[in-house]
């Protein structure tokens, strides 16, 4: 009996110490209700939340507002403009289903994050720079579009990287887990549908042509030196470096020169059901 009282006393002391070190007890997480389709014509506005910030990242509510420094857990309303500096990045949770990682020297606007009936509608505009996007499927239809100065990209639940600069224009790279024709890239003249880790850019919009040139003309741009490969910060990834493929080459080298480029596959009736989202 004496031992039991001692244990209870210790537990109480530990709990008291925890509550004093953290200041106030953490609020209980509320169970978020699952998103259900709204009646036709009804809309619901979502927000974006800052998940991670590194370096100089600023945002403003609209074009007339003043720039403010962003911090983790800041809430951004639709219409926000975000800019990142050199060696900086920010990760945003946009609405209920999308995550965006905005890379260095990028200017992004998020004018719309709404649920319109049974569709989650998100619009992102990228003036220049680079960002990774993951739009997950959550049971509702997804209408996620990214606009660049030369193209518009529409996705229906997938992950990809998009970048735009004045020299190389728009470039899109999917990930191997993407479903068939998950990304639709609309250029001024062409329309391309991307599956899996297909690439598309202003020069070669069609993924098959893009893959052909990427395979036969190995660019020596952004040369990956042995020192870079040995750098522990540089990890081979599935996606690699988009602009010139050297990151992918580095990943291939590290993985024993196994090329990870797949030709685009036209959809067929025998196509197995997509299994991209785990």
């Amino acid at each position: 009996m004496r031992h039991i009282a001692l244990v209870i006393l210790l537990c109480a002391a530990t709990a008291a110490a925890q509550s004093t070190t953290t200041g106030k007890p953490a609020p209980k997480p509320k169970d978020q209700p699952a998103l259900k389709p709204l009646p036709k014509g009804e809309t619901r506005v979502f927000e974006a939340i800052v998940m991670k910030v590194s370096g100089v990242v600023q945002a403003r509510a609209d074009r007339k507002a003043k720039w403010k420094k962003l911090a983790v857990n800041d809430v951004l309303k639709p219409g926000v403009l975000v800019r990142t500096g050199r060696k900086s990045m920010v990760a945003l949770r946009v609405g209920p289903n999308a995550t965006i990682l905005i890379d260095r020297q990028t200017r992004v606007a998020i004018p719309e994050i709404i649920q319109d009936g049974d569709t989650i509608k998100t619009r992102v505009g990228m003036e220049f720079g680079r960002m990774d996007v993951k739009a997950s499927r959550i049971g509702l239809a997804i209408d996620f579009a990214v606009s660049t100065p030369t193209s518009t990209l529409a996705v229906r639940g997938t992950a990809f990287r998009i970048s735009w600069d004045a020299v190389r224009g728009a470039r899109v790279q999917g990930v191997p887990g993407n479903r068939i024709r998950a990304i639709e890239m609309e250029y001024a003249r062409d329309m391309a549908k991307l599956s899996r880790s297909d690439r598309s850019d202003d020069d070669f919009a069609l993924p098959a042509i893009n893959a052909f040139w990427a395979t036969y003309i190995v660019p020596l741009q952004g040369a990956i030196t042995p020192e870079v490969l040995e750098d522990p910060r540089v990890q081979p990834t599935e996606l690699g470096k988009i602009p010139d493929g050297s990151g992918l080459d580095a990943a291939n080298k590290a993985a024993g020169n196994k090329l990870d480029r797949l030709p685009s596959t036209p959809p067929s009736d025998n196509t197995p059901p997509p299994t991209d989202e785990r």
Binding site: V56, Q58, W67, K69, R83, G85, R86, K87, M89, A91, T99, I100, L101, D103, R104, Q105, R107, E127, F128, G129, R130, D132, V133, K134, A159, F160, R161, D165, A166, V167, R168, Q173, G174, V175, P176, G177, P219, L220, Q221, G222, A223, I224, V228, D231, R233, V234, T237, E238, L239, G240, K241, I242, P243, D244, S246, G247, A250, D276, E277, R278
Partner: protein
């Protein structure tokens, strides 16, 4: 003076005028040292990105900021740093408001990023001509020539590619995680 001579004079003036570099009305470099905070720097990058042609002062400041060098509070200090780093020759002058030439910018980028180039550039060193060729080849420049002017958005693309090169590629990859 007959009409033929007048025509020759006008033609000569036009040719001389066409060969001289354009001078811009203003630059976006923060002249006020008190505005050297991160908001001022980001405003500077935003302003540069919108320029149709970048002047020497802005290009110099952009390069100094990009490569973590002190931009200084005067044009003379910035130019002295550029000379010291080998971006421009001692006898070269950079008029602050004149449009920046791609040549010296490419040379500066090659020096700071350690781009060695091909055989000629390795033998002769980072000359403007070969630096531009090298950066064109890498796709960092849009098939430019050393005497061309560079727009702000092109300069941003060039510096972005240089940053990727020195940092070993793109940063964290969210999309790769399935």
């Amino acid at each position: 003076m007959d009409s033929r001579n007048v025509g020759i004079w006008i033609g000569t003036l036009l040719i001389v005028g066409a060969c001289s570099r354009t001078t811009l009305k203003q630059s976006h470099s923060a002249a006020d040292p008190s505005r050297s905070d991160e908001f001022a720097r980001m405003d500077f990058w935003d302003a540069v990105a919108k320029e149709r042609a970048v002047c020497n002062r802005d290009a110099l400041r952009a390069l100094l900021l990009q490569f973590d060098l002190e931009p200084g509070d005067s044009d003379e200090k910035a130019i002295a740093t550029a000379r010291q780093r080998g971006w421009i020759r001692d006898k070269d002058e950079l008029a602050p408001l004149e449009t920046a030439r791609v040549g010296w910018i490419a040379k500066a980028v090659c020096i700071e990023t350690g781009v060695k180039g091909g055989v000629t550039m390795r033998v002769l060193g980072p000359r403007e001509r070969y630096a531009v060729h090298e950066l064109n080849y890498r796709g960092w420049l849009a098939n430019m020539t050393p005497n061309q002017a560079i727009s702000g958005i092109q300069l941003m693309a060039l510096l972005g590619a240089a940053e990727d090169h020195t940092s070993g590629g793109a940063g964290e990859i969210l999309a790769g995680a399935n």
